[in-house]
Symmetry: C2
Subunit: 380 residues, 2 copies
Amino acid sequence: MIYLDNSATTRKKPQKVISEVVRGLTQLSANPGRSGHVASLKSAIEVGNVREKICNFFGMEKPENVIFTQNCTDALNLAILGTAKKGGHVITTAFEHNSTLRPLTYLQSKGIIELTVVEPKNKNCITKEDIAPYIKENTYMIATVHISNVDGAETNIDEIGKLCKENNIIYLVDAAQSAGHKLINMQKQNINLLAVAGHKGLLGPQGIGFLCINGNFEILPIRFGGTGTESINLKQPKQLPECFESGTIALPNILGVGAGIDFVLKHQKEINLKIEKLTKYLINELKKRKIIKIYTDENNLNGVVGFNISNIDSTIVSEFLNDKYEICVRSGLHCAPLKHKYLQTTEQGIVRASISYFTNEEEIKQLLFAIDDFIKTYYL
Amino acid sequence: MIYLDNSATTRKKPQKVISEVVRGLTQLSANPGRSGHVASLKSAIEVGNVREKICNFFGMEKPENVIFTQNCTDALNLAILGTAKKGGHVITTAFEHNSTLRPLTYLQSKGIIELTVVEPKNKNCITKEDIAPYIKENTYMIATVHISNVDGAETNIDEIGKLCKENNIIYLVDAAQSAGHKLINMQKQNINLLAVAGHKGLLGPQGIGFLCINGNFEILPIRFGGTGTESINLKQPKQLPECFESGTIALPNILGVGAGIDFVLKHQKEINLKIEKLTKYLINELKKRKIIKIYTDENNLNGVVGFNISNIDSTIVSEFLNDKYEICVRSGLHCAPLKHKYLQTTEQGIVRASISYFTNEEEIKQLLFAIDDFIKTYYL
């Protein structure tokens, strides 16, 4: 099997990620922060270390502002529903994933917020110029994806961060596809909320994400329950991170993603070089086949390559690749419907090949061979 | 170390739980239900098998009504916030955990629901008679714990289930402490919503819980995002389970809890016998020490034993046990403040020793020895 669906979940995990999950399961099964005994304290220290690691990795101010969630979607929900301001206005873009669009649409449908969905001028980049004209007096949040999961298009988050800072607007960045590939510094880049998946570029297990909070603004819990703090209080306590982490947190997965971050830190350069090299190779090779439409800009080397073969339904292509070659790519709409409307690919969908550090050139060659076979099969 | 905090998280997991988590991580890292390729389909089949297992284990009608969540608290939030009826009335009890009380209190504070918190007549059991007098025309839900996490007190869920059925009221049961110890059959017992922790009696990893839904009533999502279904739709689709499982689910943990359920099924009798035997032994031994107040009824053998040494602050006792003997018990309020108010232990808290299948008699003896040492140290 050749797995090129790393934008969904990176297939291969570093050995240390697996051993850390196992260590969590076999040596640290106790509830961090729920008791004063040695087992609980040991696990709390380990979780605290990962919070510290994440805080440093993303240039945050305080480790207690790392909120562990089930996945990146959960983090985006906390960010969006937790900051919702009755009568307020949010700006987002047509390039977003449903994990941003659906909670925002929910708030809009309930009459809680006004929502503007911006169509960026350039298909390869969301810029400050796309957003700025829509800022109003009641705009309290701008939410953009960092790297598109459809075609790897990269947002100019530096510019938009500055824009948000100047206008005292919360900046929420969906880093599902970028964390682990792109360096992110929340303080320097004026990002207030960063939603991260643990199981993609950070190479951790499925079942962990986090929301990083930076700056002073109100964010309210969206889940309620035991926090191990102020047990006497029937209202959710305000202390971070407990306030947002009701119930037992996913300790083995937290240790796993901690090991993933260590791996990324150690191999950052190689990871970027390899993903860029393989992306470039794939785009260049696809370009040689005139029948192929490529949606990813040739200068965009983020490991997410969107293409179609002529006007063939993307699912027919992905099924061929899977059935004949056991090559796993994703087709269809990738949970990003407005991006497809924008690219006029709603009917056809897009074939997406996505690359991780553990992908190798031979696998890309196999993909190209299989694509050529498809073209021959259908066009000769 | 002697770990007697199994009500928080069972410390030891069966070997198969660990190997299943590892198999999930190393062989099945792909998003179930997000694509048509072989990797995704394989993982979807595995997740489906666990859903089927849970469905059978808890006597549900449909496996697609098993909703995977981050933990039991998350499941309770979905159950409570997802069914909230403006102007409706909910009955719960003073024996509940904050994971039930806090979401209900939140709904009450927002003026969405009317809430009645019943004080059961018998400290050892919530009965139909406690609840029935409070049913009103607008009562749409009754929420009770199955086994109290403070003292193991067991609710008569059969009776209350019937009461709910007769009155067409949704019955929500918090099975955090009971699943894996007590046989539960949602259909036979007329339970509509069952919130379960994966990492306690089911012996799975931390970071997985689920909500089992049985019957016909409206439940709305509380998180929004990609579901892999109806991607074109900016509104959350209605199909179960995807509707409630936005984002990537915790595949390795799901496999882990599946293996935990297999273990419980295979060893159900031994598990119950062992927990009952050790609970009985501990209660009987504690009873011999006249200075000890026992909160757990002697006929209640659910593995959760609450006690205090005279009027000594429970935390002083737990710290002594931990510091001198590395015995892990929990003290304080156990996130169940109204239960403590009821038992008049709000100031003192309660020392809780909780037993799992992997606890042995020698560990209980050590606990008793350490308690005797405490008594000598403070009273001789």
